[in-house]
Amino acid sequence: METLLNDFSPGLFVVSTILLLALIGLMVKFAWKPILNSLEERESGIEDALAAAENARKEMQNLTADNERLAKEARAERDAMMKEARDIRDKMIAEAKDDAKEVTTKLIETAQASIQQEKQAALAEIKKNVAELSIGIAESVIKKELSNKKDQLELVEGILKDVTLN
């Protein structure tokens, strides 16, 4: 301890205190402040640049996603339009078919109706003819047969029978 104290030089202590204070002050002012500020600036610059790159990457991703979405939408729209067109076409065809069917059925119906009419008319005529013919036949038969009384009765009876059956 004694040697330690003997070695200690108060003068050197004072001088080195002054010099060190000056050195610390000068170094802080002319060296450390600008250096540390620049370092921090650079570090924050790097950080910003990295963040900006990340943002750009994200934006790019968003952009591609947007594009894809748009393309999808366009495709969907096109599909919808095509489908609609197809539907319209189908509908038109169906309508046309229906119309045609209706017309034909109507035609057929009228044709059938007229056929029926003709048939009725023809039948009526045939009936009339048959009736006239039968009357004629009957007249001649009657003229021939009515010479016989018994036959006359039989005939009347037979006709009557037929009439009731009719």
Binding site: M1, E2, T3, L4
Partner: protein
């Protein structure tokens, strides 16, 4: 003469202490090599404190 013996005792003690610190730090590093930096820093600080103590004692005795 007596302070030489005292100095020897101090150096023995400090040597044992430093050996312990170094040895344990080595063990720690061997067990967890990923903590090497932290262990080294702590080791140096503790060794420095021990050294300060030993030097203090040596100079008080001188």
């Amino acid at each position: 003469m007596y302070n030489l013996i005292g100095a020897g005792l101090i150096v023995i003690g400090a040597g044992i202490g430093l050996g312990q610190i170094g040895g344990k730090a080595m063990e720690g590093i061997a067990r967890q090599p990923e903590a090497t930096g932290k262990i080294q820093t702590a080791m140096i600080i503790i060794a420095a404190l021990l050294e300060g103590l030993a030097f203090g004692a040596l100079f008080l005795g001188k």
